[in-house]
């Protein structure tokens, strides 16, 4: 370091200050993230180590297992950890997967329409509307679902015959896979649309013009050139939407039905009316048991599973994006 050169507001020093400050901030964020992951995994470890791989498997009634786990802290006869999370995992897969697939299809067509076919006045209205929709708090969607969608499904779509066929095991009241998937799709599709439209808009105009000049029609041009060139962003948007779908808790706690039941596609049409409970709402609903050490370990185990799957999905997204980047002449 030079002792003799220290201008008071020189460009060099202000640059170094900014560099160090921002660097420290980034390091702080990374350290915080690492600490979070470590804490969650350490707290959840007893639940994993007692159950082994059976933790992820089926068997037993999740509700009874959770009750036994939280009560075992008070009996003094040793902690119970037995927990089989499959109904919760299966429900998460169905709800998050279903809504991401539906959302992807819908968002893709909506953004192609917005970018390529919509008249400019419509684009001027719809673009801010979509951005607004993407930022609505999930609890509002939850309320709308409880007041409108759930009663509609319960009173008009589900027949008495269907209800009687599963009576005593589950109630078909409208709190269902269908309600959860429909509302979750409405929640995440705007997020995808806003990312997809940005990507389609930034496709090099020359590529599209070249295709049009060769006499290819607009639909084929946008589908074969535009969408293909935007694929990395489409993957990124889908992964982001999937992460939001997996982590959504308040809305799903309100709409998915609270029973830890694994809906079975073999049941036929009735399957989409069956209630279930994904992983994230389980943490919300059992939060009063956090003071019982084994129950807290179980909830942290669920949390670390959610963290792990979020990490895996962003890794997959990153790998896919990287393999697709060769289509982009950047």
């Amino acid at each position: 370091m030079e002792e003799d050169f220290q201008p008071e507001y020189g460009p060099k020093w202000s640059d170094q200050r900014v560099e160090r400050l921002l660097g420290a901030l980034v390091l702080g964020v990374v350290a915080l993230l690492l600490a979070l992951i470590v804490v969650v995994f350490v707290h959840g470890w007893p639940s994993f180590s007692h159950n082994g791989l059976a933790w992820f498997g089926p068997g037993g009634n999740v509700e009874e297992e959770l009750a036994q786990i939280s009560q075992s802290a008070e009996t003094g006869a040793g902690y119970i950890y037995t927990f089989h999370a499959w109904p919760l995992i299966w429900s998460t897969i169905l709800i998050a997967g279903g809504s991401v697939v539906l959302g992807l299809i819908a968002a893709l067509f909506i953004s192609v329409f917005l970018v390529e076919f919509a008249p400019s006045w419509m684009r001027a209205i719809l673009t801010p509307v979509v951005r607004f929709l993407a930022s609505i708090p999930s609890v509002i969607y939850g309320l709308l679902g409880v007041l409108v969608l759930v009663p509609f499904i319960g009173n008009h779509l589900i027949s008495e015959h269907q209800k009687a066929s599963v009576a005593g095991i589950i109630s078909l009241t409208g709190y269902s896979l269908m309600a959860a998937i429909v509302v979750l799709t409405i929640m995440i599709a705007p997020l995808m649309v806003s990312i997809f439209t940005d990507a389609l808009n930034s496709v090099k105009p020359g590529w599209l013009e070249g295709s049009l000049a060769l006499g290819v029609n607009r639909w084929r041009t946008i589908w074969k050139i535009g969408v293909r060139a935007a694929r990395p962003a489409i993957v990124a948007g889908t992964v982001l939407a999937l992460a939001r779908a997996i982590g959504e808790s308040v809305m799903l706690a309100m709409l998915s039905g609270s029973t830890a039941f694994a809906p079975n596609p073999i049941d036929g049409l009735i399957f989409i009316f069956e209630p279930s409970r994904p992983l994230a709402p389980t943490i919300v609903k059992s939060s009063d048991q956090l003071s019982s050490p084994p129950a807290s370990a179980t909830l942290f185990a669920i949390a670390s599973f959610l963290l792990f799957s979020a990490a895996v999905f962003s890794l997959i997204g990153w790998l896919t994006r990287r393999s697709m980047n060769k289509y982009l002449a950047r």
């Binding site: 009663p151 009173n155 599963v166 095991i169 109630s171 029973t259 919300v284």
Partner: protein, 275 residues
């Protein structure tokens, strides 16, 4: 320059925030959703009489409220069930009486239901209204209840289910208001909610022949079978004197008794108002 602006802004923000805290005391509570309507009415009257005292109450469920008191997050909790061994370090104060009403949709003409039938419905043994008797419906029952965060859930478990867990066909919702809403919107539903929640759109049913009305709610002698005390729960050690003062007022003051009755509770200990 910019640092100066920042400092001025910070001071301005502090100056705006200051009047809210100066001389005022905020009492933080959480817990029972069932007690919320009555507690809010009591808070409002007490705040009017005692300038400088302010309440915040988070209705996160009675069982969750107890944990808040144990961890020190809350200075007091509302609770709708009797003490359990897990409530160590807390003191229960009986505040007023409440009845847990069994509600059905107005489309259901059932007038009376026995505790035994309720047990069977919530254990998944009786699943059709024709099995219960007295109902005009022949459809599948949709039982609705609270999730484990609710003190109301625990009270129902103790009073109706003999501490057995509800069956998997019981839809467990996160708040009493959602239970009421579910019953309102589903002709086949049955649910439970406190006296204060009895409003248009749901019909309270007699339990063991006794109507869920304020005049029948008492614990000694027991008339209405789902009668209960609503408690104010304080930490056993170092309880806030201001909260204790409020508890005494709410339990004994004649005006507080009227407020409790008007808000849907049943005053148990308050002096009678002079007529």
């Amino acid at each position: 320059m910019r640092i100066k602006t920042l400092a001025i802004t910070a001071m301005a923000v502090l100056a705006f925030a200051a009047p809210a805290t100066a001389g005022a005391q905020t009492l933080i509570g959480s817990g029972s959703v069932a007690a919320q309507p009555v507690l809010q009415a009591l808070f409002k009257a007490y705040e009017k009489q005692n300038k400088g005292i302010h309440f915040t109450y988070t209705p996160d469920g009675g069982n969750a409220g107890i944990k808040d008191v144990q961890t020190g997050t809350s200075q007091f909790a509302g609770q709708a069930r009797t003490p359990l061994p897990s409530d160590a370090g807390t003191t229960y104060i009986k505040l007023y009486l409440d009845g847990l009403c069994m509600d059905v949709n107005p489309a259901n003409k059932i007038k009376n239901i026995s505790i035994e039938s309720l047990h069977n419905i919530y254990r998944g043994i009786e699943t059709n209204w024709s099995q219960v008797g007295g109902s005009n419906l022949t459809t599948t029952i949709d039982p609705v209840g609270r999730d484990t965060n609710g003190g109301t859930y625990t009270f129902f478990l103790q009073a109706v289910l003999n501490n057995e867990l509800p069956a998997s066909n019981v839809n467990a919702l996160t708040a009493d208001g959602l239970v009421v809403n579910a019953v309102k919107q589903d002709p086949n539903a049955i649910g439970y909610a406190g006296l204060a929640w009895q409003k248009k759109g749901i019909t309270p049913v007699k339990v063991n022949g006794i109507a869920c009305e304020a005049k029948n709610v008492s614990v000694e002698p027991l008339k209405y079978p789902l009668s209960r005390y609503i408690f104010l729960v304080l930490p056993t050690e170092n309880a806030s004197p201001a909260v204790q003062k409020f508890a005494t007022w709410a339990r004994s003051n004649a005006e507080a008794g009227e407020i409790i009755n008007k808000a849907g509770g049943v005053a148990a200990f308050n002096k009678k108002a002079k007529k």
